[in-house]
């Protein structure tokens, strides 16, 4: 965590640097002064607890400082105060500052982590992150004791990405637990985690995880550089980081992948990606991200390859349906009736007989309704949400048709589109497609299939221009990396996948021999 102070050269943190260099106060040899300084800075809050006591034999004043609830009081009593008060008495008089510190440390060996600090600021930040600080009179060093006492959630099945086959544990809200979840999967000595503190006031812990000697060093440095440049007062969620480090904030497409699944992150780390873990959120970012990653799931690798390949092709079809189907319907009905088979055309025309609106308005009404229903179902408590779904289904399915506002075929189109956008594995990509559907419908209403084609070209142009951390968004499809096409539209047998993705330019491109 002291990295923060080391990286003072970086211009992005100029303001941070100013703040920290101005405020640095060394710990004085006088306990009273130290407590005074601490009290001035954080003592105004009533949950800050300062307990002073005397170490028996040496007659030295000592104090522990912690925050009620954030630090575990039982640990403080049993593993800090009790040994110090009881054991030091047996040893007798301890002379010299260093000897005393060693004795103290020895007495508290049952604690997991003990560090020393020379500055008040590091003491305070330690206290604020759930630790306990131990001050002794006549010593200009304080002991930083790790006594986390807050409640953590037990890993449970990720609600945003349930797999039929796959681990039932997802990330939790605690940074260290999340790192553990990854370490349990990758017992590689090269697995590296660098921790940063981001947020002027929130001081959120952010971990950058990668495999040293495998991930492209340029990529790792770039991710770190972007994180170091973040200047904001609070980080709430990975969404903050994502939006602060992405390449193009004007794009509707997500350029960093967020996931709740440790197995997915572990798999990507071994392909040379970098993971960004943020404290207080169960979502972990994977950078860089390409379009194909949003059309794949981790489960593709767990099921047998033929089925997974079929699913991947299906997903490409699904994304086209979700993006274009209403637009194509509008174009066909209003411009290109001659493309529809005669019998179908007659029945569509008969159905649209009583509908007072042009097909574009009809499509817009229905798509808006679906979006409203979806939002309502999501925001309401679960039981009510389901009721909304049923009511909405009835309204869309029956009443609107009977009332002659929309045609039945439009209901089919909208339903198929909505189901398709639900079927996309990544929510972020689903949002992008849902959004782009509306401009597509508008151009289809104005220019028919020609308009759809121009819209499609515009989206493609945007995609070929888009990059995520210097990697083409359409990689490995474009530029061609034929060797990696094995894991693109199909998922080749695992036995046949010998290389890591070429686009990642890993330092160890071979996954296995032969």
């Amino acid at each position: 965590m002291f990295r923060w102070f080391k990286n003072k050269k970086k211009k992005g943190e100029a303001s941070q640097k100013l703040k920290s260099s101005k405020d640095v106060t060394s710990i004085s040899k006088n306990l009273k002064t130290n407590l005074q300084v601490i009290y001035q800075q954080i003592g105004h809050s009533s949950d800050v607890i300062i307990r002073s006591f005397q170490i028996e034999n040496s007659k030295l004043e000592a104090a522990v400082v912690y925050i009620d609830g954030l630090a575990d009081e039982q640990v403080i009593n049993d593993q800090i105060l009790k040994p110090v008060l009881l054991e030091l008495r047996k040893i007798g008089d301890v002379r010299g500052e260093k000897a005393l510190r060693d004795e103290l440390k020895r007495a508290m060996t049952t604690l997991s982590k003990i560090k020393t600090a020379q500055q008040i600021e590091s003491c305070i930040s330690h206290i604020l992150s759930g630790g306990t600080v131990f001050f002794v009179d006549s010593s200009d060093e304080a002991l930083l004791l790790s006594t986390p006492g807050w409640e953590t959630r037990v890993p449970s099945e990720p609600t945003s990405e349930p797999y039929i086959r796959g681990a039932r544990e997802g990330f939790v809200e605690t940074l260290t637990d999340n790192i553990v979840l990854l370490r349990r999967r990758i017992r590689d000595p090269d697995f590296t985690v660098d921790i940063y503190k981001v947020g002027r006031r929130s001081k959120t812990d952010i971990a950058v995880a990668y495999i040293r000697g495998l991930a492209n060093q340029e990529l790792v440095d770039e991710v770190k550089r972007r994180i170091e440049q973040i200047d904001i007062d609070m980080i709430q969620e990975t969404g903050y980081i994502e939006q602060l480090i992405e390449d193009n904030f004007l794009s509707p497409f997500p350029q960093v992948l967020a996931t709740e699944r440790p197995d997915k992150v572990a798999g990507n780390l071994l392909e040379g990606f970098v993971a960004i873990i943020v404290d207080n959120t169960p979502f972990v970012l994977i950078a860089p991200a390409t379009l194909s990653m949003f059309l794949q799931t981790g489960e593709d690798y767990y099921e047998r390859w033929m089925f997974s390949s079929m699913l991947r092709i299906l997903r490409i079809l699904i994304s086209f349906i979700a993006l274009f189907l209403p637009a194509i319907y509008v174009a066909l009905v209003s411009f290109h009736q001659n493309l529809i088979p005669m019998d179908l055309m007659i029945s569509i025309a008969a159905n649209r007989e009583g509908v007072p609106f042009p097909s574009l308005v009809e499509a817009l009404i229905m798509e808006m309704t679906i979006e409203i229903l979806r939002e309502a179902g999501l925001r309401l408590p679960k039981p009510i949400g389901q009721a909304v779904g049923i009511v909405g289904g009835l309204v869309i399915g029956e009443a609107a048709v009977r009332a002659g506002i929309v045609s039945p075929i439009m209901v089919i189109v909208v339903a198929l589109t909505a189901i398709s956008s639900f079927a996309l594995p990544e929510y972020a990509m689903g949002i992008a497609i849902r959004m782009l559907r509306f401009p597509m419908m508008l151009v289809a209403g104005a220019l028919g299939l020609y308009g759809i084609m121009l819209g499609y070209i515009m989206i493609n142009v945007h995609l070929v221009k888009l990059k995520s951390f210097g990697i083409d968004y359409l990689a490995p499809y474009v530029p061609y990396r034929l060797r990696n096409w094995k894991d693109l539209m199909i998922r080749a047998p695992i036995k046949k996948m010998r290389q890591r993705p070429q686009m990642m330019k890993t330092q160890d491109p071979q996954r296995k021999d032969s």
Binding site: N216, L339, I340, G448, L454, I457, M458, V461, Y480
Partner: protein, 366 residues
Amino acid sequence: MNISPKDKISTVQTAISVTLLTIGVSILTVPRAITEAVKTPDGWLSILIGGLIAMAGGYLVVSLSRRFPGKTFFQYNQIVVGKTVGLLFSILLIIHFILLSSYEARALSELVRIYLLGRTPREVIVILFLTTGTYLVVGGINPIVRLLEAYFPIIMLLILIGMMSGFQKFELDNLRPVLAQGIGPVFKGVRAVLISYVGYESMLILTNFMQDPKKAFKAVFAGISISMISYLLIFVVVIGMLTVEEVQLLTWPVASASMEIEVPGGIIERFEPIFLVLWILTIYTTFVLSYYFAGLGLAQLFRKDINPFLYGLLPIMYIAAMLPPDLNAVFKMGDLNGYIGIVSGIFIPLILLGIIWIRRIGNGQK
């Protein structure tokens, strides 16, 4: 991090650029253009011979460009022939690319009006198409070639599927007899075919955009071969489905041939609008490349930033696209532009190489 180098394109991308610049609108008209000249079913021989001539032209163009590493035609021609003549050559090539992009845009608007949107004004179709192109070209050569790469498999698949479904109406007899009137008519067709091969002259510029200019020969030969195979396939299938007599009379023979295709199961009533909608992708690729080259030429002539020129070209291309009053004039413009292409793809390189050979200047080893 900048993993991919700026303004450098791979060999595959170069070959794809040559192919996609060559086909485009011309592949839709090539069966008619040839049969009009040959009048026998032997046009496929003209395509082969024309392809070989185009490859010779490609050889000239690349061996010329390889002598000036890192420079495009617009930059090195003045070294060889001096300021005035070099300027003329550059302007000729720029006009060629402007006309090519305008031709593609105008031909597209004609197609769209016939098969998709009968009542939409031509002006709207052209303007929207041009601005969609601007959105891409201001990004530079790299996004352009990446988009071409992305579309290339789709386009090839489209040609293959179209041709394969064409075989349901295919009659081999339509292609017979072979060389009934001797080899004479075949050579008449070569002139018409050469116009359709125009596109490889882009290597005057592309060669020195390549990461590995040594492979430029490979790229241009591969590019021309793919266009040649596509032309052959289209020609054989279209003549086999219709007849030589019929094809001569059709404005858009390929579209007319695809009208004959019946989609199994009758899920689509007519096939040719679908084919043409997807063919917009191909026309777009040809258009953006020539648009970019025209802008690049101007930027390098004036030694300024390229983007103002790209925006400035919009009205010029629009006017050029709207100039021909009717479809016949559009095709005349295409033919004229084809001849300019032959001049800049064969004669200018020959002249420059001759001067270089006499004056012994410029070489690739520098």
